[in-house]
């Protein structure tokens, strides 16, 4: 075996081995999902399959609709990656191929950059420890802890699998060489994966332990080295921060606005006393594991059994049987602690020390249930914001895996230095990692939660695609659609031809149709209790009023949800029994669309509404943050209602030379308001000028019926304060005016983008000149 490894060394096997591994990672989604889409879950994952649509309908705007009335929530960090995915889709021509490539991408990047990072930590001949580092990257990427937390969920933090090693690698390179090219490269990578930089709890799950390691590790360095490290880190991260202004600037102002408006939902979520108390309860309920399984590079076992997770089956069928094999990781850890002083060189010792301290803290945070230390963790809950770690077994998992893999790689290198013959242990470790990775397909293809025979990863059925396409053509994006039966989480539930089910947030429907799908009880936020009562009491008059108030003008009846799914956690039996034909007959009017197999039927409600309403009003939706308005013959004060969530930053701007030539076709007319067919322009350059313009009637803005917006339009104010070219006077004294309703914080994104662009161009230019000068 050793001979074989020596031969491998002689032929520099690493590029070949990496090529094979990367190919396997790229092929893996084809094996796991068998051609299905891995859509569904908390973020729907639709941005990977419908990237351009995602940018157009979701991430480009600071006003977003997630199965409910719109809210202020900038998420422009999720533009660069979908943009690249869109280009790839254009080149490749297949959503599935690009989607699968993206699924593999964070793991491929993590795999490659983990090796690069480790090579920077190790002194000596450049390729001397290729095999050990190769095995180390296997321990990291193919860790069963990552299977449970990242491979399976594939939520936004998954990009941190690649981004952590990237940032550490470039930071290390920059500190060593002071070459700004590494700062530049880091910026490019971080910009590409900027959607993940907002996943703060997961980031902190790594930063906290490693920060502690660095703080203690500073003891081993001379003062000037520490100062240089702090100075360079400051430059490195400040440059990163400025380059991310395109999403960071709107997000910072979002938080600032929330804090000044006194309605800081996120602050409340992080710092409220109620959450602090649930923190303790949650931690006590879930901290049932122990340190052994993480030490064996396995996920926590006990919690899977306590909560009946599918993982318990994998343990019973697989990991319990490979338990003893996995003890090799414990042995490696013990060896590294015992030998690092003798086997590592001075600088390596220091770096190892930092990771060892980080490892100890990370293991504690990932496990919590370590005798009396559990109480210490619960005590941490008193620290403002620490409640974000109440599901510690998830938030610290990625950071722990990366830190532990680094420690174990060091251990393999130490073994190699002790004796080349010990490389057999590295080979054995590689084998065990591969063995422990084998259940991935079984784990990821687990039945839908609380069902036994319903699986996910659907192939979008033609019936659904045709139906959504018809909705897109026929329904104005200003209306809302109520899906029946309602579920507990505002999910869009799609059943494919094989009976597989996708349940993810309703973004997928919005992306395909442009229309918001109100699909769950939480979609009604403050009106949820009223909705439930109306349904249970069959009070259809009030229910109809509720739908009218919330601009829900259509009802979608979904008929192909299986009984097993209806019996799952997604639905409430008592409520669902009342969401029957009687309810539909009471609320639904004319049938608008029926899909070809009759599984999706769309009705117009009996009492429809319109997004903006006033007397003699013509409106047109330009995009999510902009509406054009034209009021004809305004004689006296009149109210203007806007059925989106109340937000004071929706501003009205009076336009010069009023006209309504932007209205090409009337789509609908309700109570003296004509709605024109919506536009589809992403932005207009002149929108940025709204930042310089003074809005009108802002002091009259108030909440309308419930949580909507209402202004009072007063012709006298216009006549008094504005030039005559802002209105047309009619013969009877009335005036015609044109206004734009605009969500002002959208401009924060444009300003942030300008900052990012200027910085990046400047940086690029500087790098170019510097290179030329050299």
């Amino acid at each position: 075996m050793n001979k074989f490894l020596r031969i491998l060394d002689n032929i520099n096997f690493l590029p070949i081995a990496n090529f094979i591994t990367i190919t396997v990672i790229l092929i893996l989604p084809y094996i796991i999902f068998s051609g299905g889409l891995f859509i569904g879950g908390d973020d729907s994952k639709s941005l990977y399959f419908f990237p351009i649509e995602y940018i157009q309908k979701v991430s480009f705007y600071s006003w977003t609709n997630f199965s409910s009335m719109g809210v202020y929530g900038p998420s422009q960090g999720a533009i660069p990656l979908p943009a690249i995915a869109g280009v790839l889709q254009f080149i490749v021509g297949s959503r599935v191929v690009v989607g699968y490539f993206i699924y593999s991408l964070p793991f491929v990047i993590g795999f490659v950059y983990f090796q690069k990072m480790l090579k920077e930590f190790i002194s000596g001949k450049e390729n001397a420890y290729n095999f050990e580092i190769f095995v180390g990257s296997f321990i990291y990427i193919f860790s069963p802890i990552l299977i449970v937390n990242q491979w399976y969920n594939f939520l936004t933090p998954v990009w941190l699998v690649g981004l952590f090693p990237i940032i550490i690698y470039y930071l290390q390179k920059y500190i060593k060489t002071s070459n700004l090219i590494y700062v530049y490269k880091n910026i490019l990578w971080c910009s590409l994966f900027s959607l993940t930089l907002f996943t703060i709890p997961w980031m902190l799950g790594f930063i906290l332990p490693i920060g502690l390691g660095l703080a203690f590790g500073a003891i081993y360095y001379k003062r000037r080295h520490t100062i240089s490290f702090v100075r360079k880190s400051f430059i490195f991260f400040t440059a990163l921060g400025i380059s991310q202004a395109f999403w960071l600037f709107p997000v910072m102002l979002f938080f600032y606005n929330l804090s000044t408006s006194g309605n800081n939902i996120i602050t409340k979520a992080l710092f409220s006393q109620d959450l602090a108390s649930t923190f303790e309860l949650t931690v006590r309920a879930t901290a049932s594991g122990n340190v052994i399984y993480p030490l064996l590079n396995l996920p926590h076992r006990q919690i899977a059994f306590d909560f009946g997770w599918y993982l318990s089956n994998i343990f019973r069928e697989f990991y319990d049987k490979t338990f003893l094999l996995s003890t090799i990781f414990l042995g490696l850890l013990f060896f590294s602690i015992n030998s690092f002083k003798t086997q590592l060189r001075k600088n390596e010792q220091r770096i190892f020390s930092i990771f060892l301290i980080a490892f100890i803290f990370s293991l504690f945070c990932f496990t919590v249930n370590i005798g009396p230390l559990r109480e210490v963790f619960i005590l941490f809950g008193q620290i403002p914001g620490f409640v974000m770690f109440r599901n510690f077994y998830e938030k610290f998992a990625l950071g722990y895996t990366l830190i532990y893999a680094t420690v174990l790689t060091y251990s393999l290198i130490m073994l190699r230095r002790k004796s080349p013959n010990f490389r057999i242990i590295s080979a054995l470790t590689l084998l065990i990692v591969i063995v422990n990775f084998l259940p991935i397909r079984n784990f990821i293809n687990q039945p839908f939660w609380t069902t036994k025979n319903t699986y996910g990863y659907i192939k979008l059925p033609d019936e659904y695609i045709d139906f959504t396409s018809e909705v897109k053509d026929k329904i104005q994006p200003t209306s809302y659609i109520l899906s029946l039966p309602l579920n507990i989480g505002s999910y869009s539930i799609i059943t494919d031809d094989e009976g597989k089910v996708s349940a993810g947030n309703s973004l997928i429907f919005r992306i395909l149709t442009g229309v918001t799908n109100v699909s769950g009880y939480p979609s009604f936020d403050i009106d949820e209790t009223r909705l439930r009562k109306d349904i249970l009491d069959r009070d259809y008059n009030d229910l109809s009023s509720l739908l009218h108030e919330r601009n829900i003008n259509y009802i979608l009846e979904i008929k192909n949800i299986s009984n097993e799914v209806k019996g799952s956690f997604l639905f409430e039996k008592a409520m669902m029994e009342k969401e029957d034909e009687v309810l539909i007959n009471a609320l639904a009017g004319k049938k608008i669309i029926e899909s070809k197999n009759g599984n999706y039927i769309l009705y117009k409600t009996k009492n429809p509404n319109i997004i903006l309403s006033s007397k003699n009003l013509t409106i047109k939706r330009i995009n999510q943050v902009k509406y054009k308005l034209f009021i004809k013959n305004l004689k006296e004060k009149q109210a203007l209602k806007f059925l989106e969530s109340f937000n004071q930053q929706w501003e009205l701007y009076l336009e010069q030379d009023p006209k309504d030539d932007w209205c090409n076709k009337i789509a609908t007319e309700i109570s003296q308001t004509k709605e024109c067919v919506s536009g589809s322009s992403l932005l207009e350059v002149r929108d940025i000028l709204f930042s310089l313009k003074k809005p009108i009637f802002e002091e009259t803005q108030s909440t309308g019926n419930g949580n909507n917006n209402r202004w009072v339009i007063d012709p006298e104010i216009i006549k008094k304060e504005y030039d005559k070219n802002y209105y047309n006077i009619n013969e009877d004294g009335g005036i015609d005016i044109e206004m734009t309703l605009y969500f002002a914080p959208q401009n924060h994104f444009y300003i942030g983008t300008a900052i990012s662009a200027i910085f990046l161009f400047g940086f690029t230019g500087y790098m170019f000149i510097r290179k030329k000068h050299k």
Partner: protein
């Protein structure tokens, strides 16, 4: 600040303060804090555990219709007011169909029940050591009382249960403050009773170790907190006396064993304590844990255990963990895992500290 520190250090150097006043103060802290903060009985309540003087009628250990937990016990004091029992949780405690339990108690000679009340099983789930309260019986001392706990329903999903081998009851005697504080002799009489009844209860004692920690650490510091050389000298002299006292003709194996015992008697003892804590105690007592940790620190300091030895201990505990898991002793296995983590932390800290010392040495 310096002045204050000087005064403190001057006082500290006075022997009777170091060996008398401070330990006494810490001793009083242990007793008073334990009596005051014990969660299961306030300072004005005495408790007595009855382990055998009762019976149960529970096939399969589940309390269903027609079965009962019953027994009698002798009240050891006046003011009997609570009878607590330890239950096991059966079923999935989903509260969909709460079980109802009837508790009643009377004096043995009496025909009628003195007190009867119904309880929902969910309240018992939230507190497995459940106290059944009743109006205080002032003259209860030396009288025999009978109690019953029955379930009128046949609800196997939410029934409560007991393990006969682990079942015990505790009687509580609630004194009024007025009674205790009426005169100094009553107070001291009550205090002595409280101390005796409390500290004769193992659960209480183990709980109280939390407040014993300062005294324990203080003593450890006084004994072993000196320079290592002095400690080693002290150990060697103790060893010499020991070997003189135990002089006898020995076979080589016995000599080796003796050397090991002499050399490693403290580590062995502490290791045994640790194993006992893992195997025999079903709960984690913070005081006991901290005490053992303190002892381990002393052992590490005295015997200069190498990292290899510490990790060997961790490895041994891992083996113990595997065995305990295989035998389904989950609580003990979890406790073993705690000590594995502690040993890893100790080994890491030791190695990192040695690295600092080496660096300093090189610099010097």
């Amino acid at each position: 600040m310096k002045k204050i520190l000087k005064i403190i250090s001057r006082f500290y150097k006075i022997k009777w303060i170091r060996w008398g006043l401070i330990p006494s103060a810490l001793f009083i802290f242990w007793i008073s804090a334990s009596l005051s903060f014990y969660p299961h009985a306030s300072f004005t309540t005495l408790l007595h555990i009855h382990e055998k003087d009762f019976s149960t009628d529970l096939p399969q250990n589940i309390l269903l219709k027609g079965r009962k937990i019953s027994g009698e016990f002798k009240a050891v004091d006046n003011y009997l007011g609570i009878l607590a029992m330890k239950f096991n949780i059966i079923g999935d405690n989903n509260f969909k169909e709460d079980d109802i339990l009837v508790f009643r108690i009377k004096e043995k000679e009496s025909k009628d029940w003195y007190y009867e009340n119904t309880y929902k099983s969910r309240t018992i789930y939230s507190s497995p050591f459940f106290p059944f309260g009743f109006p205080i019986i002032e003259n209860s001392k030396d009288k025999i009382y009978q109690f019953e706990l029955i379930s009128p329903r046949d609800n196997s999903d939410n029934a409560i249960g007991v393990k006969e081998s682990e079942f015990y009851i505790t009687s509580y005697y609630k004194y009024s403050r007025f009674e205790i504080l009426s005169n100094p002799s009553d107070f001291f009489s009550y205090l002595s009773k409280k101390i005796i009844t409390s500290f004769s209860n193992l659960q209480f004692f183990l709980y109280s170790t939390l407040y014993l920690t300062p005294l324990f650490y203080y003593v450890l510091w006084q004994l072993f907190g000196r320079s290592t050389k002095k400690i080693v000298k002290r150990v060697i002299s103790i060893d010499k006396i020991y070997s003189r006292l135990t002089k006898m003709k020995s076979y080589p194996v016995v000599v080796v064993a003796k050397v090991i015992v002499v050399q490693y008697k403290l580590p062995l003892l502490v290791f045994l304590f640790t194993i006992m804590d893992i195997i025999f105690l079903k709960e984690t007592y913070i005081g006991l844990f901290l005490g053992l940790l303190g002892l381990w620190i002393v052992v590490l300091r005295l015997f200069r255990l190498s990292n290899k030895n510490i990790l060997f201990l961790a490895g041994f505990l891992f083996l113990l963990y595997v065995i305990l898991r295989a035998l389904n002793y989950y609580i003990s296995a979890d406790k073993a895992s705690v000590w594995i983590y502690i040993f890893i932390v100790i080994a890491a800290i030791k190695a990192l500290r040695e690295l600092i010392l080496e660096q300093k040495k090189k610099l010097n």
